[in-house]
Assembly symmetry: D2
Homo-oligomer: 358 residues x 4
């Protein structure tokens, strides 16, 4: 069988590099174009020397090979571009006939007003928002099969939604007053020449940021509200606070919610039970056994998300915890999982055994 | 004037070492005994070689120099011992005539039942609980002057109480439903030969721990309830979750609370205003200007605690953030601040200029 | 075709875990027994939770399954045991019929006296030293095909010998006065409950250790002398100094040597030329292009070793630099390369694409 | 007595910030101007928020306050400027009447040709080279008393010269064939917006750089040759190789040299003895006891340099090891030591007790 031709637009950022990592190992994929406006003409391995001899593909710019050409020659194009840029490039690729997985925020919302308020941009192609599938396979698996355009979820939304969805879907928690306190490793900020991300500034640093109105907050609330609306008609309003911690990869969400009246006899075992039954058979969601808490180290380099929960009798809160690799399940490897769903491969294909003990 | 004679019981843990750091720089103090059961006979600088030539004092064990002797010869003894041990040693020291600052949890509670439930121990000297002063100068400054026994607050309680007290004292937030999501650097776990604190296990790790019933939660709630009772009669029930992050020093608390009906016209400026007016003139509490958020890097090596807050209109939560050095304001340097209050020195004495830009 | 049955003795150390990582991905291998004396009865994924769902094999002790049984049922047994222990276990496994790759120093020497002096032990099975093949495929590829017992080289020796062998083999450098100044990441110290390897003690630490008489020095000198003897009859006496640096994986050797009279017209291009021609076609040795220097980051997680050299006209020294992952080419992945050579598979099998850009 | 008025030109780099740290604690100093071209008008504590409330001085640019004015109003000006810039600013300051300590390479050489070759610049004020004192108090203490212009030594030269000088001065080692293999923490690269110094690029990285013709090599050789010439007439030619390691502060030199014929009965005790007797009474050079090796952790935050040596019988090399804080003895704190020597204060003034155990 012919391999699927995949091109990556913006291949030299950290998400791009993780996509290369993942697709190189994918048995059904042939990497076609790797693009970079900054590094055109160089080899991918000039930018990431660990790839010397593994991926020495020459990087092309969009001037050398047009998006139209890339779209025509590729079965799938993955765009790892900044928001506001994706929304201009993706329509060209789709028109050229390629299916697209986009990593930006540009196609993650259904409500264009929420997008435009969150991103402070006018959307140039709002008609595509309806068509785009939010690429969380655990929620939208069925839609992915026929998706022309998949919006890869944000990193914080992925770990928040995976933890909360089982409860929201069944109305087991109150939709008001949810707290999502989350922490990302430094790759989450991208590959940037900025003093604030320099080694000496970040080592021994830990801090909140974007504490009010962070875009991932509106993304989380829109997605959870879709799940919730079916049941209760109420939209979800979680308060979201991201933090930056001195490790390269990984993301942890600590989530606080009140059980609703529907949650009869709530206790820790039942909280875990809700997660267990929702994610039984899911290849990449690991509901942790009693007494074990997520650690970003334990998902490093994988597409896994580890999740658990307890009920704190003293205060009446359900506490949920989820950990993922922000470049894995939080970005590039989740895109490969979605790719598998889109092209009819088992979702684990190419994603199985790349972890290490240390 | 004669210098105050200070001895440190348990001087080779990280808190003990930070006490040595602080007291060496203190112009009114003479270090008398440094004790260590594990390293007796060695020099302090054998354990911490950076102190070679600075502090080569010989470590003594309690067999060599009895607690009674230490108590008799010292004006102040600081105990940096595990809980359950302190409660046996401190009465001896007090009886011998020394004033004491204790770093364990053994004398932090007024309610012996809460202590015994939290620490799963029977308290051997419950009569001392009434006498002990909870050593947060910003709250109990007046009591410290005459304190014989000061219980140095826990690290998490310090940064939680400093952030919440101004609101609790005035009834400006609801006492139910407070969330304290906090993160500590690795020195918080102490100086231990444990695989879980080894470099290879902790680097690139981030995780919650003690997510239900952590002792510092009961300490926070008891202290905040004292402040609250005067106003409303209701006790405080905050849900507390600690995390461990890969940096050596520092602690951040991200706190979520609902404004009460007494908080008229709540907005971010007023939230900061409450902090500002409460801590005006405080030498070690820095209420950050608008737009600046705490970072543990920015308190590293100091006795400062940086604090700020916002009101999140979308969700109706007040978010408070506080950062301190867990060994500084969270432990040893706060003890020196309390020492200054106990002995009538300006609280900044010996605590002023030890920070570095990087 | 039947898969090769591989068992790992001592599977829960860092080398053991990397072996599991590598063999899981190996298409020709079936993992049979994973042993652990400390964690018997637990799952491998209890020790390394990142493996939950990937490798949940139950760990067995040698009491439960004897070495004789393991040797009989396995085609290959890899021993990741301390020196002095391996020398007792390996003969049992060989007698039972298994081929063996041993990770300790016990079978790396030909001269039992050098071993016994270096390790301060009496060797219980010196007759096996002759039979054992030193498992550096770039040097002893031909012998590995029929090896019953392969001694996996030490980490420092691997990166030292790979850099120096091309020059020693041709007599292009003086055999006296070679300096090997090398640095290891912390995994090189193993998975140990020791204060000196704790996060707080190692972060912001960098230091030499074992500066006189380190075992790897005698291993390097013996191996290089074999290569040299053929040509000049002189034994090699390199001075070796290891250092410990605060990163988890990786090893760099900076090597200084004088060109001999045989090295006509020595310059940097010719130094690189010697490396280039020696390692042409080698799948895992990457001779770096002009102007590029090795970085442990650029071999992280791989079986590659990056090597280069210059001639410093000012001082007359050849400087050679080599970088490898100490758990990769320096230990477990090199063992898999040797395994491939032993069992007739292409050496890259199972070792190809596991690197990441960040 | 009036305090000495000190201004810092280029106060927001890492060296500048460490100078602020040191001079704030100095009892005889009043900080006058802190300059910054990039951040003029901001407070020093806006750039280094840890200084909020400690140093909120407004940064001025040279347009606002001319170098002439600064030179006239200050007793001492410290320039922490790039090379090539210092050489233009320093003459203005000197002419205005200030004494100057310069941190660049511009005034460290006596031989202008070596400077111009090493820095690839034409020196605009070569006449000052003769006058400038190389600010290593352990070597040039006497000259510092009357120095108008002190050239603060490079970081690598400091730790190399301190280790080698005692042997070079007495002709105890061969001046040819010395190897200096040294490693710096990341602050050594300065405070820069460069991708290569970003957290994600440097964490888990370790590499050599500048392996041929690094400027600090010529600085080391010129200085050591001055010491050597008195005795033997031969100039020193050490081969120098710097490395970059993932820690913020600290520098270690591992040095290899051959004992000369003058070194009778060389052994490890005698090697240490040479260091001991040379540095007896030096306040900041700590010759380590037998069996203890330097660790950058053990000098962190201090002006100490820890040094030791062994004689390796097997290979005939003397190995010397020295560790310092690259911002401490390697830069800013050494400048304060030189300042003390210049102004007649005991050299320890303001430099005594700022270390921490962790």
């Amino acid at each position: 069988m012919n391999k699927i031709k995949v091109s990556i637009i913006g291949s030299t950022g950290y998400v791009g590099a993780e996509l290369v990592h993942g697709f190189i190992a994918h048995p059904e994929v042939e990497l076609l174009y790797l693009t970079s406006e900054s590094f055109k003409g160089k080899k991918f391995s000039d930018i990431y020397p660990v790839y010397r001899g593994i991926c020495d593909k020459i990087l092309v710019s969009s001037e050398e090979v047009s998006y139209d050409t890339i779209g025509k020659e590729s079965d799938l194009v993955i765009t790892a571009l900044p928001h506001g840029v994706s929304s201009k490039v993706v329509p060209v690729l789709l028109k050229a006939g390629a299916r697209v997985i986009d990593h930006s925020g540009d196609f993650r919302y259904k409500d264009v007003a929420t997008y435009e308020k969150s991103y402070k941009l006018t959307h140039p192609a709002p008609e595509l928002l309806k068509e785009a599938v939010y690429g969380l396979p655990e929620i939208h698996r069925d839609l992915l099969k026929d998706a022309k355009l998949t919006a890869n979820p944000g990193c914080y939304p992925t770990c928040s939604i995976i933890a909360l969805a089982p409860f929201i879907e069944k109305g087991l928690i109150e939709t008001e007053g949810i707290i999502i306190d989350a922490t990302s490793g430094v790759t989450g900020a991208g590959r940037k020449e900025k003093l604030e991300y320099s080694y000496c500034e970040l080592d021994e640093s830990f801090k909140p940021y974007g504490v009010s109105g962070h875009r991932h907050g509106t993304e989380i609330n829109e997605q959870l509200s879709f799940l919730s609306k079916d049941e209760t008609g109420k939209s979800v309003k979680a308060a979201f606070t991201p933090h930056l911690a001195p490790f390269k990869r990984g993301m942890l969400a600590s989530i606080y919610a009140r059980p609703s009246k529907l949650f009869e006899g709530v206790d820790s075992a039942k909280v875990r039970g809700v997660l267990d039954s929702r994610y039984e058979g899911e290849p990449f969601v690991r509901v942790l056994p009693e007494g074990i808490l997520p650690d970003v180290k334990c998902v490093n380099g994988s597409n896994y998300i580890d999740v658990t929960g307890i009920y704190d009798e003293d205060t009446g809160f359900i506490k949920l915890f989820s950990a993922q690799d922000n470049l894995g399940k939080g970005a590039a490897l989740q895109a490969i999982q979605a790719f598998n769903a889109m092209f009819g491969f088992p979702e684990q294909t190419g994603l199985q055994t790349v972890v290490r003990g240390v």
